[in-house]
């Protein structure tokens, strides 16, 4: 389903990080937002998922305004997210983390075939795994949740290339299934592999957009220059 942000503002308390930011992600489209750290990507993700309250603007999922919903309500309405940090329940086991997605044992078994690492560590607590493994677990949990929109905040950080490739395949599958995917990333190869559109973000807002045919390494890199 289409996710549409219409002039949203918000941040921490009355420290506004975004002012009147608009963008939309169509069903079956992967939009990547690139920008250096500190430019407000994570804040944007939190505003969409409801972890932070909006100071203004409208968010729609399809035709439905989801601003009145609390974070849990948005998750149930179909906005699935993977936060950048705290993406797993540290004190719970890998299996429990996956169970909380609401998936069936068969679905859990299926996803762990993509990430054999998880299958090996089913009973281990998530907090005892490496940063990259936790990213994979958080990503797998997000893939298992039923939803029509997906917000991924730096899923590839610290993850090994072969697992990044599997992540890309799963993101692609979600796109095929008609999910609107918002990908907040700095990993250029992942962006090049999956993005249909790239938006550049700097302190203060979105600076430029690249359509599918314009996406190349140099163009994306220019968004990351300091």
């Amino acid at each position: 389903m289409t996710v549409q942000l219409d002039k949203i503002s918000g941040g921490y308390g009355d420290t506004l990080i975004h002012r009147e930011l608009s963008l939309s992600v169509a069903a079956g489209e992967v939009v990547a937002i690139v920008g250096r750290n500190g430019t407000g990507k994570t804040t944007l993700a939190r505003l969409i998922t409801g972890e932070l309250p909006l100071a203004g603007g409208v968010i729609r999922l399809g035709d439905r305004p989801i601003r009145p919903l609390a974070a849990w309500g948005r998750a149930r309405a179909g906005v699935v997210s993977m936060p950048q940090t705290g993406m797993v329940f540290d004190t719970l086991s890998v299996h429990e983390n996956l169970l909380l997605s609401g998936a069936t044992p068969a679905q859990i078994a299926a996803i762990t075939r993509h990430f054999p690492r998880l299958a090996e560590r089913m009973t281990q607590t998530a907090g005892s795994m490496s940063g990259g493994e936790r990213k994979i677990l958080g990503f797998a949990r997000a893939m298992l949740m039923p939803g029509t929109a997906l917000v991924l905040d730096e899923p590839s950080e610290g993850v090994q290339p072969e697992n990044i490739a599997r992540m890309q395949a799963l993101i692609d599958a979600k796109r095929q299934a008609g999910t609107a995917v918002l990908l907040l990333e700095q990993n250029i190869s992942m962006i090049l592999a999956v993005a249909d559109r790239v938006l550049a973000m700097d302190v203060g807002g979105l600076t430029f957009a690249l359509e599918k045919h314009q996406i190349n390494r140099e163009a994306v890199l220019s968004a990351l220059e300091i």
């Binding site: 420290t15 506004l16 990080i17 250096r36 750290n37 430019t39 950080e157 890199l221 300091i226």
Partner: protein
């Protein structure tokens, strides 16, 4: 000073009218609740001005009462001896409270529940001892059979002794509010982290507040002994401690007179109505709950608001500023050096052998991805987090191992990442506090003149046409728009004339135009004072405009340091920012 005199004269007149209008017995009844009221003022002071809630202040009340009764028994009420004994007991209580607070607050106990619960346990212990050691306290029967202080009749002349103490204590508390000491206490309650950065030792400030609270409460207890003619474990129990808190809360802990009002009105009404109106105590408890939930300032808050609306509220007079003495911060000089600093929290290593040098002058900008350890580095410099290895030094003087409140004396001031202005205080009061920082000695805390101090740095900031703080002089600081609050924050940081300024995201949430103003102000201070400025910032426009040098932090280490051009050309840096683009 006009309104203090007015308030006190009104209070005195009201108190003197009590025996005239109500008769001797009524005055005796009210006298008891005035005594409780003084004790409640003590609780209110600790809670409203110290920011911590003592749940066991009956400990000091009881100590004062038992000690006074014991001395009265052996001296037959001789005035001077007893007054002296009262004073010594009260001083001892103050010292006990000071020691207790310093000990607890220096440790891991914050102003939260921990302290309250320790005082609760202490009063339970005291109550238990009072009940079970008849040799010392008379047990359940208590101490009795002594003449009141100077043989004064509790139903007659003794009332005026109580009135005298009420006036003394109330005047004292009202006065403290007008002095630097009172402003420091308000700052403590509003934002203790910022007060610490301004160089005040929190545990000592809290210690003094608790000492005053205990001193006053103990004196009230001493009068109680003469007034009642008997002291039982009731005077040192948890029940009384709880009542004191309720009276302070309902009357208004933020105002010196609130707790007195609460004690007299609720206490007296309870004593009168308890037996006839069955639901009275339920109603009092309900009022207490409602006050906690909806009216943190208590009844006096309503009174003050009403007075304010009628135009009778206190009007701060704008007195001409006085030249401030030189700041102790401005005498330090030298380069900041971190060598091989390691800091971990739990199992996570945040700083991993960090080495960095900031020249004695100029602007060093520190950039790096989130989680690189930038803010933690500032915490390591200012002693907010203990380091596990390495040394931080400024001009060759070792900073490692020092507490945050000692930093200003070393010439270091810091602006935190999250806004930390003193909420609830006016812009003027915020700046007054900043002017006291690094300049105040203990005698200055008790005279009004330092509140008018103004230094060149602050004057220059206030005169700047782009700094709209003077126009918002009497506005509460938390109501300033974000951009202006950042400017206030900068003023708080620079007012003590630091030699090393640590700024954590000074332009966060600012519009580009506001960022330009911030850049200009920082540059102006740096050039005028020749200080070193260390800035953590994501906004490259600011970095570009200000940095004489840039350091890039990554995974708890310095990845590169040099001019911005050098940094931009560094492939390692680009790699970090591009997330290892493969």
């Amino acid at each position: 000073m006009g309104s203090i005199v007015g308030v006190n004269l009104a209070l005195l007149a009201a108190l003197l009218l009590v025996p005239v209008l109500g008769g001797a017995f009524f005055a005796w009844q009210i006298g008891l609740f005035l005594i409780y009221g003084i004790a409640a003022q003590g609780v209110g002071f600790a809670w409203g001005r110290g920011g911590f809630l003592p749940l066991g202040n009956a400990l000091f009340f009881g100590l004062g009462a038992y000690s006074a009764a014991a001395v009265l028994r052996v001296t037959d009420g001789a005035l001077l001896v007893n007054l002296l004994a009262m004073l010594i007991t009260a001083l001892a209580c103050g010292a006990l409270a000071f020691g207790l607070a310093v000990l607890l607050f220096r440790g891991r106990i914050g102003s939260g529940p921990g302290f309250s619960l320790v005082t609760l346990a202490l009063v339970l212990i005291a109550g238990q001892i009072a009940e079970t050691t008849p040799a010392l306290t008379g047990g359940f029967n208590g101490l009795s059979g002594y003449a009141p202080l100077a043989g004064l009749d509790p139903f007659g002349a003794f009332y005026y002794v109580i009135v005298a103490l009420v006036m003394l204590v109330s005047c004292g508390f009202l006065l403290i509010d007008r002095l630097p000491a009172g402003l420091i206490l308000r700052g403590l309650v509003a934002q203790e982290g910022r007060l610490e950065l301004l160089g005040f030792a929190l545990h000592r400030v809290k210690g003094w507040a608790f000492a005053v609270s205990a001193f006053v409460t103990s004196l009230a207890g001493a009068l109680y002994a003469s007034h009642q003619g008997i002291v039982t474990p009731q005077a040192i129990g948890f029940a009384l401690s709880a009542e004191l808190v309720i009276w302070a809360a309902v009357g208004g802990r933020m105002s010196p007179l609130g707790p007195l009002l609460g004690a007299v009105v609720i206490g007296w009404a309870s004593a009168t109505l308890r037996d006839t109106v069955a639901w009275w105590e339920v109603a009092v408890a309900a009022v207490f709950l409602l006050v906690i939930l909806f009216l943190p300032g208590g009844a006096m808050d309503l009174v003050n608001r009403a007075l304010h609306r009628l135009g009778l509220g206190p009007r701060p007079k704008a007195l001409p500023p006085l030249a401030a003495p030189a700041s102790r911060a401005s005498t330090a000089t030298g380069a900041l050096e971190l060598s091989d600093v390691g800091l971990s929290a739990g199992t996570v290593t945040i700083l991993d052998g960090l080495s960095l040098r900031a020249a004695p002058q100029g602007v060093l900008c520190v950039i790096g991805p989130n989680g690189a350890g930038k803010t933690t580095m500032l915490n390591a410099i200012t002693g907010r987090m203990p380091t596990q290895k390495g040394v931080v030094s400024l001009g060759g003087r070792r900073l490692t191992g020092r507490a945050p409140h000692q930093m200003l004396a070393q010439g270091i001031a810091r602006k935190m990442q999250v806004p930390t202005v003193f909420a609830g205080l006016t812009v003027a009061q915020n700046l007054q506090l900043a002017m006291l920082a690094g300049r105040l000695n203990w005698r200055d805390a008790l005279r009004p003149a330092p509140l008018r101090w103004q230094g060149d740095t602050l004057a220059a900031l206030l005169d700047d046409p782009d700094v709209p703080l003077a126009a918002a002089w009497l506005k509460s600081a938390e109501h300033l728009p974000q951009g202006h609050r950042q400017l206030l924050e900068l003023a708080l940081t620079l007012a003590p004339d630091p030699r090393l300024v640590l700024l954590d995201e000074p332009a966060a949430g600012m519009s580009p135009a506001e960022t330009q103003i911030m850049v200009r102000l920082i540059r102006a201070y740096q050039q005028r004072s020749g200080a070193a400025v260390l800035i953590i910032e994501h906004d490259m426009a600011l970095v570009e405009a200000l940095a004489s040098e840039v350091a890039v932090l990554h995974q708890g280490r310095v990845l590169a340091q040099g001019t911005l051009a050098v940094i931009r050309a560094d492939p390692q840096v680009t790699a970090v920012y591009a997330g290892g683009h493969k």
